[in-house]
């Protein structure tokens, strides 16, 4: 409430810091988002976008079975990736945080950032070669009289793609989280009878809870919106939401319907982020 404020003095100093990101967010995130929502009420006449205000796009998409299938499929894959990537990343992050020397740790951080220098698309193509029917894995299996196993154009391949996308980042975020763990607490636990392996679950994970949850959330967010992996590795069987967006645009120039899917995705991401944040910062309940 404005009235009853003890002082009218306004400090402009914080504003100077907050303003640039605020302007950036407003012009490159909020504005397009508003535009996106607006466009979901437009119409397409003779393959041409027409300004309008109709709810037909929402009705059409939300009544389509393929949309729900795609939604569940996308959500499931992203969740599986978040869990798998968290579990795979943890031992590496743990080793780097607690066992490795500073030299090894620095080197590892460099190597974890390096994948972001190479095109994601190129990495996905190389995965195609590895996972294909006559690819590297199946050739190797053939040598010992096994296979071939169909991996390409399955959800398995999609998740492998998600993992190459998210694993380095999740390790980095976990490493940051684990670096904040007070090592004296680990000694205290040891002193109170906890063997090192148990200490991971009794001290390290509870101490680093916020960072670990946020790392997993990144794993979800990045894969939920990914288009490349489901298309080139998953063979869009079945399609994910991002593939659905592309299809709407490609077949019939239907930007409004694509917008409906996109808005749904943004709402989902924000909801997941809010949920995970409140989970991460949840205080022990006081009874």
């Amino acid at each position: 409430m404005a009235h009853g404020r003890p002082t009218k003095r306004r400090d402009m100093f914080p504003a100077a810091f907050i303003l640039p990101p605020l302007v950036w967010q407003a012009s490159f995130f909020i504005t397009p988002l508003v535009f996106l929502v607006w466009m979901s009420f437009w119409r397409v006449k003779n393959f041409r976008l027409t300004r309008d205000f109709v709810t037909a796009n929402w009705e059409r998409i939300y009544n389509a079975g393929f949309f729900y299938d795609a939604y569940v499929h996308t959500f499931t894959l992203a969740t599986v990736n978040a869990l798998v990537v968290s579990v795979l990343a943890f031992p590496a992050a743990y080793f780097l945080a607690f066992r490795a020397g500073p030299k090894v740790r620095q080197l590892a951080i460099v190597f974890l950032v390096t994948p972001f220098f190479t095109s994601y698309l190129v990495r996905i193509y190389s995965l195609q070669i590895i996972l294909a029917e006559h690819g590297i894995i199946n050739s190797a299996l053939g040598l010992v009289g096994l296979g071939p196993i169909t991996m390409l154009s399955t959800s398995f391949a999609t998740v492998v793609g998600f993992l190459t996308l998210t694993l380095p980042l999740v390790i980095l975020v976990q490493l940051l989280a684990l670096s904040q763990v007070d090592k004296r607490l680990m000694e205290a636990a040891s002193n109170l009878g906890v063997p090192p392996f148990e200490a991971v679950f009794k001290v390290v994970i509870p101490s680093a809870k916020v960072g670990l949850i946020m790392a997993g959330t990144f794993g979800f967010l990045l894969s939920f919106g990914d288009y490349v992996s489901p298309l080139f590795l998953g063979g869009s069987k079945p399609p994910t939401l991002s593939i659905l967006i592309a299809d709407q645009v490609k077949s019939g120039n239907n930007w409004p319907r694509a917008s409906v899917v996109a808005v749904t995705m943004v709402v989902t991401l924000v909801a997941v982020l809010l949920l995970m944040t409140s989970l991460a910062y949840a205080k022990r309940g006081k009874k």
């Binding site: 040891s190 002193n191 009878g193 509870p206 022990r284």
Partner: protein
């Protein structure tokens, strides 16, 4: 004498070329309150960590009831520690922190654990805070939780690493009293590390003075105070004036040293011609107006400054060679002398309290 509960036998700890503990021999008796004291870097904390199993000695043996425990990992030692930083688990509330060790040991139902934790919290006067988070506690309260967490395991030996140094002076005195009370009530062995002499002397049955990875002296506080075993201890305790010199005479238990402040007598024996240092406790020195001749147990000088710390006054007297003596007196003893800065005074002491320090 009964068998010691803990024995350190020629224990050594090196980190590459650096020596943290050079060689420690120490036997700790059951129910003893033993304090390891020394300047920072003297190896006292390393010694405590070796007892807890958090450091592995590079040589020597640690024994519990005569049984070597060098290879027993910390989580099997049952020697809980109270940490300088408290090291409480911020993700658990007060009661769960206290239950932590009990839960880990197993063999108790949740109800029993809870009851035991509350008993200890009650004993330390913070039972009403059982549901608080650690971040909601003050330093003194955290210290109590840390004590409760360690004591809930009902160990034979409690290790304490500078437990009071993060508290303010007032609280420190109170916790000191509390620790003393707990020790006598529980009848367990306390091994306590500190750099604060007041804590050590107030709490300890025996004090172990350490320097540069070695034990300098082990003894009851009074013993160390009255008869420092070396020049280092005398300087570290800071309760005596130490004067270096050369022995010029020796006869039946008394020596005469030639020092920069004159010829001084001391009890003890040392070969003629040897170097030696003489220690005179500051509170055994009598102050009078100058006039009478000085002899082997007296010097003359000029009063430079005085320091009041409550009832005790410390006088600093500059001697003719520029060195200083300090004298500690009760304030009422000084008042009648009505000393002014610059006054020449005569300092004298009984011969039996001037001792030659072992080299």
């Amino acid at each position: 004498m009964s068998e010691p509960i803990l024995t350190l036998d020629a224990v050594e700890k090196r980190y590459g070329a650096d020596v943290a503990v050079e060689r420690i021999d120490l036997a700790i008796d059951k129910r003893e309150f033993i304090v390891l004291m020394g300047p920072s870097g003297c190896g006292k904390t390393t010694t405590l960590r070796i007892l807890a199993g958090l450091e592995t000695p590079t040589a020597g043996e640690v024994r519990l009831w005569g049984r070597p425990i060098n290879d027993v990992p910390p989580w099997q030692r049952e020697m809980p520690m109270v940490w300088q930083s408290y090291a409480l688990f911020p993700f658990l509330d007060v009661r769960r922190n206290v239950e932590f060790g009990l839960k880990q040991r197993g063999g108790m139902s949740a109800g029993e654990r809870r009851k035991k934790a509350l008993e200890w919290l009650d004993r330390l006067g913070i039972a009403h805070m059982e549901k608080r988070g650690i971040h909601q506690l003050s330093g003194g309260q955290r210290q109590r939780v840390a004590l409760a967490r360690a004591l809930a395991l009902e160990p034979e030996v409690l290790l304490l690493d500078e437990p009071l140094s993060a508290l303010d002076a007032h609280l420190r005195i109170r916790m000191q009293g509390e620790l003393s009370r707990l020790h006598s009530e529980l009848g367990i062995t306390f091994v306590y590390v500190t750099h604060a002499q007041s804590e050590a002397f107030a709490l300890a049955d025996r004090v172990v003075i350490m320097s540069e990875g070695r034990v300098q002296q082990i003894g009851a506080p009074r013993e160390i105070y009255r008869a420092p075993a070396s020049r280092f201890v005398a300087d570290f305790i800071g309760a005596s004036n130490v004067v270096g010199g050369t022995v010029v005479e020796e006869k039946d238990g008394t020596v005469v040293l030639e020092t920069p402040v004159g010829r001084l007598e001391a009890t003890g024996s040392r070969a003629k011609g040897a170097a030696g240092a003489l220690s005179i406790p500051a509170d055994w020195i009598a102050v009078e107006p100058a006039g009478e001749a000085t002899d082997g147990t007296a010097v003359e000088g000029r009063l430079v400054t005085e320091d009041f710390t409550g009832a005790v006054v410390t006088l600093y007297v500059e001697l003719h060679d520029g060195s200083q003596f300090f004298v500690q007196k009760q304030q009422h003893e000084i008042e009648r002398l009505s000393l002014k800065r610059g006054t020449r005074v005569r300092l004298s002491w009984p011969l039996e309290h001037a001792t030659i320090l072992p080299e």
